[in-house]
Symmetry: C3
Subunit: 208 residues, 3 copies
């Protein structure tokens, strides 16, 4: 349980940093930074909790999450002008956040006794939805959907690893989940790892 809370806090903090970085790209004021940071940091977990009818939603029961996300936004508001390349930092922070949010989602869903397909989906939702909301609201091209990036796939593989290890009765399932997710996502960011993507035939009729 304590591990789950720590994972939730870590993912909130790091996702809030990414949200605030995107807010800096949109040139918002401090309250705008906090708004986007909270949306990003709490969005995925909130959706997870509403779907599995967890009451109360995690940050309503423990408003410390709001404080952490707001603090992260404040840090970025002060520090972002010093960054050489905000986009690069954003990519790496987002990868870290994904790698803690997926096990956080998997852990909550396992704790709620859900079947493995639902656990898988909850891991992916917790990991991917906050960043997706951030990008849709801020009019960025969603990282989740960049052609050829390993992103949802990393969340999928990590959640699958956790489910397999849990079914096999192994400990450290959530740790392995984080490691697998981070390794795949980081490989995509650093070395350009790719899955085969859909490649259309050359068009003949002018319509896509």
């Amino acid at each position: 349980m304590t591990l789950l809370v720590a994972l939730d806090f870590a993912s909130v903090a790091v996702f809030a940093l990414t949200g605030a970085l995107v807010a800096s790209r949109a040139q918002l004021d401090l309250v705008g930074f906090i708004f986007i940071a909270c949306l990003t940091a709490l969005g995925g977990g909130t959706l997870r909790d509403m779907l599995i009818n967890r009451d109360p939603v995690f940050w309503i029961g423990q408003p410390g999450y709001l404080a952490v996300a707001s603090l992260a936004a404040l840090v970025v508001f002060v520090a972002a002008p010093r960054l050489e390349s905000r986009y690069r930092v954003l990519l790496w922070l987002d990868a870290c956040a994904l790698a803690v949010a997926v096990p956080a989602g998997v852990g909550v869903a396992l704790g709620a006794g859900l079947g493995w397909p639902v656990v898988l989906v909850m891991g992916m939702i917790t990991g991917c939805m906050g960043g997706l909301m951030r990008d849709v609201v801020c009019n960025e091209v969603p990282l989740v959907l960049k052609a050829g990036e390993i992103y949802v796939t990393a969340a999928f593989a990590g959640a699958l690893a956790a489910i397999a290890l849990t079914a096999a009765g192994q400990p450290f399932a959530l740790l392995a989940c984080a490691a697998v997710t981070f390794a795949l996502r980081a490989g995509s960011v650093a070395f350009g790892w790719r899955l085969p993507v859909y490649r259309p035939r050359p068009p003949r009729d002018g319509l896509r």
Copy 2:
């Protein structure tokens, strides 16, 4: 009850096909196809279930829906490069999905004993929201909002037909709902049927 489950499965399968087609336009990998297919196929019904506090949400209680949506994504991943005009296929599949999702939403809302204005809204939400999420996330112009298309209106008319027939004690209300919805939407796609749209005066002040 069996009819409702069949409607839900059919709408999930067909909406998943449309989601995967949009994913193919965004050149995602296979997991990305599955992600967008599930978002499209399950989004509307999930919102409906969360709004009327149905517990559990339909695909959490029956993960077979996830399997159907994933299978549909796989089919499109393999088959889409063979299509002459993906956009045309997308339009027609989306019309079919709308025509099964609206009665599915109406049926669930009637079964929950809600008042007719809420039943009407639930039919429209179940029919329109999945496709709207798909288009917003994938940065397409939402089909729901294309100027002059009959889309929300088709869902509205279909849901209204079902409510009227149910109030009149007629059987086949859901079937009529599907028929009305499909007829109006198909008429718009095939023959360019239109409702009068809002037409502004020629601008005088340069601002819209």
Copy 3:
């Protein structure tokens, strides 16, 4: 309680007007106007009610809200072509709607006995999320996020005022909330009031 219901109805009516105005910019038909009007008018409060597990959601328990939003859409459908500058009207109506929606959200959250950080967030969600959904769905640049506008900040300050006055045992907390929110937002619209925004260094590496 009566005050809360009146606030909810007023915010629904005014937000519906703004939604219909945005629909007029997208040249939708009448049902499209009603759809966007309802999304805008009911979106923020619906999210609030789902988050705090209020059952039923306000407009499901009282479908009169749907009627009000639809009527507002109809009024705009008829009247919008007569407007000189729809964007200006939209800005001012949106400011009014914000100023009634924030106290409506704060009032419900206080009534549910939530802690003050959550009350603050519920006020901001109820005020900002409906307009955000409207702008995201209709592909407008979200008003919430326009660089340098006081928007989320106005909601934040209004909610904070209400919480402080309630804690101090003062009456009229919700009225003060509306006044503070409107004053700040209107100052931004009319006089260009600004908070200091994030200002990046001149780029050196070509990446933002």
